[in-house]
């Protein structure tokens, strides 16, 4: 394969999390895009520190310092950003940092979404830690882990917002007044970028603050100082002695067991944060690469219903499987009706967590394979088809190279460095 006509995607084995480095050839030098860097459960042989060390090594810049043209943080879940806590990043030169609009520090809607999530995560965490202490079980552990994933990750977010070398431009996407899906940037000559999510639609914003979460917080506020439910009436109304009405002990037990909504609230928080995922299609020449982050039903639906976005989806040659292979991040319609599997490549970064038995979802992976998508799994890289995927350094990463159809003619050799303007 001729140098200069393939895009290489490297999936690092972070355990449970995401870290993908995309290298795009241009005439001057290769351009690099990093999608996420995080983990909430380490891989068998490597830690996130090992991954970051290798990643920095993989990105030599022209001045000898490591350099990445674009860093994308798809959403703020720990398993996508925790790696940015590490000190190494201050020495990495970065051209631009892309985040979903919900990360914009100056946008009041975004602020409300973030505060809502943080408050809910903190309240759930407090409640679950107490319950875990009292009676630890696998279900509670799974819930606690999902909540920790959503707790604010100050260190990592500081790097993304204020860190890196080279004072990179921050973009929050999509722009408020962005009329078209697709834009280009001088730091990635010859690459068209389409933003498929998250939406700024008012209904979507409402869903980002799940009603279940609001009710839950309200319930927490309702407790008295000792953490007990308030009494609806003063004690003089209570009947001492025999029960006045016919109510069996069994019924009383059932009535006492009401009102533990934690599991549903945890799931809705997780889904809400995933729902802020930046969903991007990169187009190099005529070849399309789909990075949906952990986008959920709402974003996918909007994309599949928009004819322009649907065309982009159907042109996908490479698919980063959403949300570590969970049920809700890859719609059946996308697999069954939109993609043309033949020659398509997919990568899934995952690592089973005992308390989340549904992730990755085996039938989904089988369905993708059934549609002729060649798949590599970060935790089982040895099983990936060696004719398509290349496994490096004891399973620390897996590569796939994808040939570009109609490569762009003569991209500029050296773009202007102040390239903050967006060409549309």
């Amino acid at each position: 394969m001729a140098e200069g006509s393939v895009v290489r995607i490297r999936m690092y084995n972070v355990g449970f999390g995401d870290c993908f480095l995309v290298t795009v050839p241009t005439r001057g030098r290769p351009r690099r895009i990093l999608f996420d860097c995080g983990s909430i459960k380490k891989a068998e042989k490597h830690s996130i520190d090992d991954v970051v060390a290798r990643l920095v090594q993989d990105c030599p810049g022209e001045d000898g310092k490591p350099a990445i043209d674009v860093v994308v943080a798809t959403h703020r879940h720990r398993d996508h950003v925790s790696g940015f806590e590490l000190a190494e990043w201050s020495g990495v030169t970065v051209g631009e940092v892309w985040m979903p609009w919900t990360e914009d520090p100056a946008d009041p809607d975004a602020q409300a979404v973030r505060t809502g999530h943080a408050k809910l995560a903190a309240a759930l965490d407090a409640s679950l830690q107490l319950k875990l202490k009292a009676a630890p079980d696998e279900r509670l552990k799974g819930m606690a882990l999902a909540v920790q994933n959503a707790l604010t990750n100050e260190g990592a977010m500081r790097t993304l917002h204020d860190g890196f070398n080279g004072n990179p431009v921050r973009r929050y996407m999509p722009l408020k007044d962005q009329a078209r899906l697709t834009f280009e940037t001088p730091v990635l000559p010859g690459v068209k970028i389409s933003v498929l999510g998250p939406s700024r639609d008012l209904d979507v914003i409402r869903d980002m603050n799940p009603p279940k979460g609001k009710s839950y917080l309200c319930l927490g506020d309702s407790l008295d100082v000792r953490g007990e439910p308030p009494s609806p009436f003063d004690d003089s109304w209570k009947i001492e002695g025999d029960a006045p009405a016919d109510l069996s002990a069994d019924d009383r037990k059932k009535l006492r067991a009401q009102g533990d909504p934690d599991a549903a609230v945890v799931a809705s928080l997780d889904s809400a944060v995933n729902g802020t995922s930046l969903m991007l299609v990169l187009q190099v020449g005529a070849t399309h690469f789909l990075f949906p982050g952990d986008a959920q039903w709402g974003t996918w639906q909007a994309a599949m219903r928009n004819p322009e976005a649907r065309d982009l989806l159907s042109a996908t040659r490479f698919y980063k499987v959403g949300h570590h292979g969970s049920h809700n991040a890859t719609p059946r319609e996308f697999v069954d009706e939109i993609i043309h599997g033949k020659g398509m490549r997919g990568m899934i970064s995952t690592n089973p967590v005992a308390s989340w038995p549904g992730i990755p979802r085996a039938p989904l992976l089988a369905q993708l394979t059934g549609h002729n998508v060649a798949l590599a799994r970060s935790d089982q890289s040895a099983e990936a088809d060696p004719a398509v995927f290349h496994v490096g350094e004891d399973g620390l990463y897996v590569d796939v190279e994808i040939e570009i159809a109609d490569p762009p003619a003569d991209p500029p050799v050296d773009p202007p460095k102040d390239g903050a303007t967006v060409t549309r």
């Binding site: 009405a245 009401q258 549904g358």
Partner: protein, 606 residues
Amino acid sequence: MAERLQDPHAIRPPSRRPLKVFATDPMAGRTAGNRITVDVENEDPKPGPRGDRVAVIDYDGAHDCFYQQVDLNTPAILMQGGLEPAEADPRFHQQMVYAVATRTLENFDRALGRWQSFQTREYDRLRLFPHAFHGANAFYSRELNGVLFGYFRADKENFGRNLPGQLVYTCLAHDIIVHEVTHAVVDRLRRHFLEPTNEDVLAFHEGFADIVALFQHFTFPELLRDAIQSSGTTLDTPGPMADLARQFGEATGMGQALRSAIGRKELVLGPSVMEPHERGSILVAAVFDGFFLAYQRRIRDLIRIATRGSGVLPKGDLHPDLIGRIAGEASATAQSILGMCIRAFDYLAPVDVTFSDYLRAMMTADYEMSHSDPLGLRESMIEGFRRRRIFAEDVASAAEESLLWPAPVNAPQIPVDSEQAILVYLMRTATNFGRPRMRKLDYEKGFIVDQDGEEVPGLTEDVAKALHRYASDHRDPLQLHPKLPIQVQGFHSVFRVAPSGRLVIELVAQFVQTDKTAIDALGGIPLRGGTTVVAAADGTIRYIIAKPIHLGGEQSVRDQAEARIRRQLGYLDIADALDPETSFMDDEGLKTRMKTRADFAKLHFR
């Protein structure tokens, strides 16, 4: 009666008992129309109150205690027509829950032409728990044969119309009581409507409960007066009346979503509206729009009289007499719409309901009561549904004639004469209607348990056997599967007086068939087919309303069966995608996920 035979001068007890309630909730307490008196059937309730079919049990699960209970027959209470509204007195809470629930049931009794019983093997009444748990939630539980109301402290920041930190009782909100009791009634009428086999099923349960709450609310003329006065000269826009409708659940933080579509014309039914509450709110809005059209039609003459034909109302306040007359018309229209919405139930198949079915059932039910449409109710309702893009499926046009269920040709009669059990049942229900204390199901004759081991409410073994013989002999015309077992899922006789004075007697039988082979893959909800048969008193069939499951029969039956299965699978996908918990489910969880999703405790917590 018996007392009068013994003592010709005995004072007859009144047939109705007045009780005081909040017309909306305590937060609206200071407005004039909010503290109202409703009257309910005087059934001589025991302390609790514990009536013939509902029992209020004030057990607090969060504190494991009982509260003092009200005795409505205490002279001091009788003399003032029920306890005065008081938030701090649990006995008023019990009175209000009892009064509003009873009134709701009476609305069903009247519209359906039969007495709604809540008797089961285990419990003989519907149990109402006004302070069951701590939480901003209230829900019906089939398992407990009851409705559980929560209480909580209002948010210190977002307290809405409450005071910050104030205690809020869901059992003091009129509409929440009606909504939850309606869920209980619907679950008795159609057990399988809690099985989400398509996107409309749960939305229907929610939307219908809300329709009943809304229109029962609108039958209080006191409440409507304010809304009408504040409309001023713009009686032709639903503004203030829509606001009144939307107040539901404001104080409790519950339910606002359900009526949010009222007054917002742009919200219509479409494939992206899938969440049960949102979808249900479109159904509510369609019925509200239909109501408003009918109401406008009905007050046109009053406006003409008041404006001497100009139709333009003068600026300033309307004359109180005019408001009184308009409020009366609005509340009478609400009562008619409520009756129409409830009567539709007898014309629904036992499984897999859709909004389209409901529209057609509503049209058919009303047509059977009155062939002409003097008040334009049906016409208004068709228009209301059309505006919200709820269309009848598989019909030639949106005209009324096309929407009626088709009348079957040469359908096999229900053997009223030859089957002794049916005849006895018919006579017993006929004599019992209007005789409150003779309604207990005769359990010595055995009760019926369906394929899932659940009791079929209100059905005795001998009647079920007779109907089973009938259905087994006529599988084809009833569009039943030739091999699958038939479950008799319900049998009622219906006695209604039409506006013309005609007595309408109907027999309604439901048959269900179940195919459990793919139950795990379908998330715990099997494939079901079912047929509702509506017959005249002599057994002549009027309607056969079927949801077939038979893939080998006549072309039209097969097509329907195939389409239904496809739709069930399609909805399974959508429900999976919409539920954030899907991703975290293990194999066992996946096997029952559709059942779990229909749990009201979860569904109502939002």
